[in-house]
């Protein structure tokens, strides 16, 4: 057992997979430069020393190009892990992600495979509108992409390893404030979520949610940093006699409908929390589907606590207002109980 931050856990996952399978390599900007950062959030720090600059491949600033290259490499038998320094830059490669990565296998009639991982840091960290977006929902809507959203170091390692071994494209969304609370590259407001990580290898299957806290009055579904806000809210509510169940789906595609549905059948109430914008976010799908399928079990309307429909503002009071908080979660739950 070793205590690890999420950045460290992701690094270990990559390291283990690269040792295990020589087809695995990393590609992205500033990920392997000697003396450099190891990616914007240190995840690949030191890996080029171990694996060389060919397998930790630094690219020019060319997102569309390097994602297309990852796609080609995957089709030809490699297993690339591509890195967007900030999720916001994924839009530069959107054509390759949506029109090629997600569709080539289908277009081929199932003949080609695209085993590739795309790592996407998300979340607002005092940098303004173009380095802050939570963009899971855009990809949640693309058929053909699996989506993982680890909130703990344990999950980060296990989910990333599973992603690398999956024969389909997987996007892993990582929250910048969860990478780690130490070191020169930590961000303002970073949370300390270090965890003991087993020495033995483990994988976490996709589509298996985790119940982070059991409860009986209301179900909260949240991912990434919102898991912690939800747990904080649940703790506050507990004191007031309201028992909230907190579920982290861990992967959005595939989604563990069974776990959420069972919980809602028990509690009769559902709240969904994400840092992505409200309108058309993935929370809408969960709300719509649960409202449809658990129609007879719901004792109150399903609510969502999400970022408002604005770009991310820079100034701290406005950014804090933008990001869903435990306080807002408590308030929303009281409205449905």
């Amino acid at each position: 057992m070793k205590k690890m931050s999420i950045a460290e856990a992701l690094r270990e996952a990559i390291r283990e997979e690269m040792v295990r399978d020589e087809r695995v390599f990393c590609i992205g900007e500033d990920i392997g430069i000697t003396g450099g950062f190891g990616g914007a959030f240190t995840v690949t720090l030191g890996l080029s020393d171990q694996f060389g600059h060919e397998r930790i491949l630094d690219t020019p600033i060319s997102e569309s190009g390097f994602i297309g290259i990852a796609i080609g490499a995957a089709m030809a038998g490699m297993r690339p892990i591509a890195d967007f320094e900030y999720g916001d830059f994924a839009f530069c490669a959107m054509d390759q992600l949506v029109n090629n990565m997600s569709k080539l296998r289908y277009m081929s009639g199932g003949k080609v495979k695209l085993p590739m991982v795309v790592r996407v840091p998300v979340g607002a960290t005092r940098r303004g509108a173009q380095h802050a977006q939570s963009i899971e929902s855009y990809f949640f809507h693309v058929p053909g992409i699996k989506i993982a959203c680890p909130s703990t170091a344990y999950d980060a390692k296990g989910l990333l390893k599973t992603a690398v071994r999956d024969d389909n494209p997987v996007m892993v969304f990582e929250h910048k404030k969860l990478y780690g609370a130490k070191g020169a590259r930590k961000v303002e407001g970073a949370m300390d979520v270090e965890q003991e990580i087993p020495d033995e290898e483990y994988l976490i299957p996709f589509g298996k949610a985790e119940v982070k806290k059991e409860g009986k009055d209301v179900t909260i579904v949240a991912t990434l940093r919102m898991v912690y806000e939800s747990l904080a809210a649940a703790a506050v509510l507990e004191k007031e006699g309201i028992s909230a169940e907190v579920i982290d789906p861990r992967t959005l595609i595939p989604f563990d409908w069974e776990c959420v549905m069972d919980s809602v059948k028990k509690t009769g109430r559902l709240l969904i929390v994400h840092e992505d914008n409200y309108t058309g976010g993935w929370g809408a799908e969960i709300a719509a589907s649960v409202a449809e399928k658990a129609f007879d079990y719901l004792d109150a309307p399903i609510k969502r606590v999400c970022a408002p429909d604005i770009p991310v503002p820079y100034s701290p009071p406005m950014e804090d207002f933008y990001i869903p908080s435990a306080e807002k979660i408590v308030k929303a739950i009281k409205e449905i109980i």
Partner: protein, 320 residues
């Protein structure tokens, strides 16, 4: 030409004939309503696909575009499964899921053609990167039109391909038009091969209607790539005889332009060469044409006779 074995030359010529016959057939089949959607035909550009692919092995790969039939035939996709795909039949090379703009068969080194202009350019580099990792001496070739060189991803990719010395060859088919847009309306420069300079990559232009010239230039580029000496850009000047896609009357073209180019029909050039060099007789040519014609009749019979997929098969083949 002297140094090229007769077999190779006849192979190239046969490939061109097969492409021409295939596309002619498709043209009429489309008019007759056998083909859904739209088609982008390759007549006039046969020398490029045939000349380039004559340098490729089965374990080499290509990427293609919205105008992919010629590339598919040249790379070895069987004409029957190709035609069936264009018909949307379940015997098609993509089981009817791809269609005319997405034909391909990875078993012969052709992933589905990518119809987003320039979209295949980085994918080819990626396959080349894989070959480098795998220490195979395979080569990736990417076909695209001159219009594609104005997409950003062309620029991003050629830079990386050059930087990393990837075994990839970029074949730009300059047929003067991107849909209705003449190169003069899309480029200030005229020599597209010069763009390679921006990446420290060799760039070269050849007569794209002269299959032997294309073959020789591509040979150099492919050998260079295969030997680990890096990528290059080869611009082939050519012309599409027909419209951009179905129902295009080409009213944006100046009068007489097409006629001039028809005189330079790559098939005629190749035929004359073979005849002059006495590598083939008029009878020999006739026999080869008939054979190609026969093949495509059979391909179309096969496509016609093949079953359509069941509607629910749409739900298959997304996930591995």
């Amino acid at each position: 030409m002297e140094n090229i074995p007769r077999d190779k030359l006849l192979g190239i010529y046969e490939c061109m004939l097969r492409i021409r016959e295939f596309e002619n057939k498709i043209y009429y089949l489309f008019i007759d309503g056998f083909i859904p959607g739209t088609i982008h035909l390759y007549q006039g550009q046969e020398a490029v696909a045939a000349g380039v692919c004559a340098n490729l092995r089965k374990d080499d790969v290509i990427t293609s575009t919205h105008r992919p039939h010629g590339h598919a035939i040249a790379k070895g996709v069987p004409s029957g499964s190709l035609m069936a795909e264009i018909f949307g039949k379940s015997t098609g090379c993509c089981k009817g899921k791809g269609g005319s703009m997405h034909v391909g068969d990875i078993d012969v080194g052709m992933p589905p053609a990518i119809a987003i202009v320039a979209g295949g350019i980085p994918v080819a580099a990626g396959m080349a990167l894989a070959f480098k990792f795998q220490k195979k001496n395979s080569v990736a070739v990417s076909f695209f039109g001159e219009g594609a060189t104005n997409e950003g991803v062309f620029h991003e990719t050629l830079n990386m391909a050059s930087l990393w010395n990837l075994p990839v060859v970029y074949i730009c088919e300059n047929n003067l038009y991107a849909a209705s847009t003449h190169i003069e309306k899309a480029f200030k420069i005229t020599d597209i091969a010069k763009r390679a300079d921006a990446y420290g990559m060799p760039g070269r232009t050849v007569d794209g209607n002269d299959a032997v010239a294309v073959y020789s230039a591509a040979k150099e580029a492919v050998e260079q790539a295969r030997a680990g000496k890096g990528p290059s850009l080869l611009v082939c000047n050519t012309y599409r005889h027909g419209g951009h896609s179905r129902g295009d009357a080409c009213t944006y073209r100046p009068k007489g332009e097409k006629e001039e180019w028809l005189k330079k029909d790559p098939l005629i050039i190749m035929e004359n060469m073979l005849l002059e060099a006495k590598l083939l007789s008029a009878d020999g040519i006739k026999a080869m044409k008939e054979k190609a014609e026969q093949e495509m009749i059979e391909a179309s019979e096969f496509a016609k006779a093949s079953p359509l997929p069941a509607p629910e098969q749409a739900l298959e083949d997304l996930w591995a």
